[in-house]
Subunit: 119 residues, 2 copies
DNA sequence: TCAGGTACTCACCAAAAAGTAAGTACGGCT
DNA sequence: AGCCGTACTTACTTTTTGGTGAGTACCTGA
């Protein structure tokens, strides 16, 4: 029950891809990691205003299982864990780019607000 | 409460796009409509094995609200309603294509099964 | 006459996803 | 001594999502 009940039979490629990106914060995590290269847990948390620690851990674990992110643990005294995109994570991000462009256009069309995030 | 509580402030374009595609069957509806051009309600239902009438109606309504699909009602005696993609629906589908390709690759990688659908 | 097809709506229920709040082990800083 | 920060885990609750099955109004074909 730790991981998700996914990887099921898919209707098509989009279905398979959506399975992996589904989750309130997953695409944002992807973006954050792509943008910053490597991030620590607390950095991600701060970069994603509103995310709960539980969801962040959960999503990161699933994305690790799905081969999208790499988790590097440093056995140090204040714990340190670094997350980064794997090759598959990078290619997924690239595949997501046109969708992002479409979404940006849509935001302009409907005049949607943007969540303010500071780098 | 009929429609969805969406269109909220978005973090980025992907967020905005995902909002519109989120839902178990939406991407499949998009694909079905793109593939066949125009489809009646029952045709869609038959093309999406496993979808419930409730969800199909609900998703179609939301997609109509979001300007992705066009709903043409013929006031005839056995009711007839035709659904087709709008310009925005078509462009969303195009933006989804690379994601679909990525997903297809992933299916091959992990050896995921495909749901059997007959045309 | 009666099942079957059209395109739905409605009420109810189950499951999944996400949020909340607390706890944990350890050290540094003040 | 006491609080902050690290990176989590755990239990519990709420919200959201999706599924089930019935009902509707009308017509067609067997």
């Amino acid at each position: 029950m730790a991981s998700s009940a996914r990887r099921g039979p898919y209707f098509c490629g989009i279905d398979a891809a959506m399975d992996v990106v589904a989750g309130k914060w997953k695409s944002l995590i992807l973006w954050e990691l792509h943008h910053h290269g490597t991030r620590r847990f607390a950095e991600l948390r701060r970069g994603l205003p509103g995310v709960s620690e539980k969801m962040l851990v959960q999503h990161l674990r699933e994305m690790e299982e799905d081969g999208l992110v790499h988790r590097e643990v440093y056995r140090e005294v204040p714990p340190k864990v670094e997350y980064s995109l794997t090759e598959h994570g990078v290619s997924l991000n690239a595949a997501l780019a046109p969708l992002g462009a479409w979404g940006t256009e849509r935001m302009a069309r409907i005049g949607a607000a943007k969540v303010s995030v500071d780098a």
